[in-house]
């Protein structure tokens, strides 16, 4: 294991000096009450400048992103982030402004913000959007808060439950729980879709709504979405769209047309902005007209040719983010949409779906595909064919590291045993997909013939197989000075 920066401490190795202060400074004890003052020194490491630079440069070489290689992380849409987005976000007129500036000095930024609200509404078939939420789960929370506000405004206080399919992302039940709802789980049928009978049986006047991902986490389109919407709406509930998998229908179908009342989208998945450690994220939320009054405030409005913040929203759930959201990310996603255009966005989606289906066909001889039919942007395989050799999905994932690939999402969705979710995205070429297929076929062969290579993987990585069990059971979360 590499040393921590704390372990590189050498006393007096960083003898820097600051120039003398040319304004008179008061004694610290005069400005800070005694009980807030620390008497012992900090435990910060002393490391020379060059060693500090080397330490962090070395760590940075270990990062793996989509700019380093293929990253088929199911359910996360790790698509390439076009560099033109970065150029746009760094334009001085966007990068150099301050959120407290007066509105007449930032009309360009407000115009972009307004147009982004409008474009996302059009793409999703919704009536209005808020760009405030900072990421997907935050968008979910904002959306469910609006659903709650909607029911309460109608004085419908009975609705204390939210329905979530058993294939859902864990953030769905977690979000509903945080907002104070009880969770009702809806079963999937043998086709991997929402079981309408179960939904019908559980829908009643205590249910505030259903949270649904479409395409779902198996990469399958919920074909009966109109029936699902009718069941929920007839029972007085609202339909929430988790936009995690929007890339599978983008530009082709719209959540609003399917009957969804609230939508969140992940700019960092679907709209080509950095994801994970490269973030931050952005999770705008869209609503149908009946929920517009509850949107977080302010929203940006346009009067004649003047853009301004509208704070006059008495039923608003309030602010969900300081200032106006992750503005730089919004600029990048705006650039992504504008540079692709309506046709380009649709084509991106079609390529994402084509790539996923192509990979599915290429892998089906060597790996079990529990639900093997036309998918959208992703599909799920498992290690059933390899289990006879004592190989699990974890071993396959670890072996992929040896071949230079970021392993996909594993052991999710929970309804598929030993799942591995593969999402190639539209930005991968046929040649790259074939390299991945060759590696997967090699791993399948190794499973039978050279099982140890999987059980001991990764061997070509800086860190070998880690003991995840002990790490989880007895985590060491803090460095202690020896």
């Amino acid at each position: 294991m590499p040393k921590l920066i704390f372990e590189k401490h050498v006393t007096n190795s960083n003898p820097f000096s600051l120039p003398a202060c040319d304004i008179p400074l008061p004694e610290i004890s005069e400005t800070i009450p005694a009980h807030f003052l620390r008497n012992e020194t900090t435990a910060l490491p002393e490391v020379s400048e060059v060693e500090t630079v080397r330490h962090f440069t070395e760590l940075s070489t270990r990062a793996y992103g989509v700019d380093s290689g293929f990253y088929p992380l199911g359910s996360c849409t790790m698509k390439y982030n076009p560099k033109i987005n970065e150029w746009a976000a760094r334009l001085p007129g966007f990068a150099g402004i301050h959120p407290c500036q007066s509105q007449d000095t930032v009309q360009g930024a407000l115009q972009l913000y307004y147009e982004m609200q409008e474009m996302l509404a059009e793409i999703n078939g919704m009536d209005a959007f808020s760009l405030q939420p900072a990421a997907g789960a935050h968008g979910e929370m904002t959306g469910i808060m609006m659903i709650k506000a909607y029911h309460q405004h109608r004085k419908d206080y009975k609705r204390t439950k939210i329905m979530v399919p058993d294939s859902a992302h864990g953030t769905n039940p977690a979000t509903a729980n945080v907002i104070g709802y009880e969770i009702i789980e809806i079963k999937s049928n043998e086709r991997g879709l929402v079981d309408l009978e179960d939904l019908r049986a559980k829908m009643n006047d205590e249910v505030a709504g259903l949270m649904l991902t479409n395409p779902n986490t198996l990469g399958l389109f919920e074909e009966e979405i109109q029936d699902i919407a009718a069941i929920v709406h007839d029972g007085g509930g609202l339909l929430y769209y988790d936009g995690a998998n929007l890339n599978g229908i983008l530009g082709v179908a719209r959540p609003g047309d399917m009957g969804f009342d609230v939508v969140h989208v992940n700019l960092h998945k679907t709209f080509g902005t950095p994801h994970g450690g490269g973030g931050p994220g952005s999770g705008p939320v869209g609503v149908k007209s009946k929920l517009i009054d509850f949107l977080p405030k302010p929203v940006v409005v346009k009067n004649e040719d003047v853009y301004s913040f509208n704070n006059d929203l008495p039923l608003s759930i309030g602010k969900v983010k300081n200032f106006y959201g992750n503005f730089g990310v919004i600029v990048k996603a705006y650039t992504y949409i504008k540079s692709l255009g309506a046709e380009g966005i649709k084509e991106a989606c079609q390529h994402a779906v084509l790539n996923a289906n192509y990979l599915r066909h290429q892998l089906r001889d060597d790996f079990n595909i529990p639900i093997d039919r036309l998918c959208k942007h992703e599909f799920v395989i498992n290690s059933k064919k390899q289990s006879a050799y004592g190989v699990t999905t974890l071993d396959i994932a670890k072996r992929l590291i040896d071949y230079g690939y970021h392993p996909p999402t594993i052991y999710f969705p929970l309804i598929i045993s030993e799942a591995m979710m593969i999402e190639p995205t539209e930005t991968e070429s046929k040649e790259r997909l074939h390299e991945f297929v060759d590696v997967m076929k090699t791993i399948a062969r190794e499973s039978a013939q050279e099982t140890d290579k999987l059980l001991n993987a990764p061997q070509n990585a800086v860190i070998k197989r880690v003991d995840e069990v002990t790490a989880a059971r007895k985590p060491i979360v803090k460095w202690e000075a020896p």
């Binding site: 864990g170 594993i410 052991y411 999710f412 929970l414 045993s417 995840e468 069990v469 989880a472 059971r473």
Partner: protein, 128 residues
Amino acid sequence: MNIPGNLLYTDEHEWISVDGDTGRIGITDYAQHHLGDIVFVELPEVGDSFAMRDAVGVIESVKAVVSLYTPASGTILEVNEELEDSPELLNEAPYDSWIAVIELGDKNDLQKLMTAEAYAAFCQTLED
């Protein structure tokens, strides 16, 4: 797969051992095998009452986080606190490592559970 004949089972892979008006509950060998190494168990509170199939606890493994559903309605009389420090006991001996003891709320609930034979057949269908 070990499925003792003297217990009753749910389709969520919990078992219950009935003794008079009380029941001892836990997870099956099938459950622990498919969860993989269990790293954390959240136990119910003694005195809390639950309806049949309510979530009474949480089991976390390296692969997944799942709810523990009570096979029968009732009130929690006792919990196995040893699992808090040694969750691996659920992997090592799933039928000895009981999770909670409940005072049965409605003995009719037991009629809805599976016998060992029925549960074995059920597990077989999941493997096919």
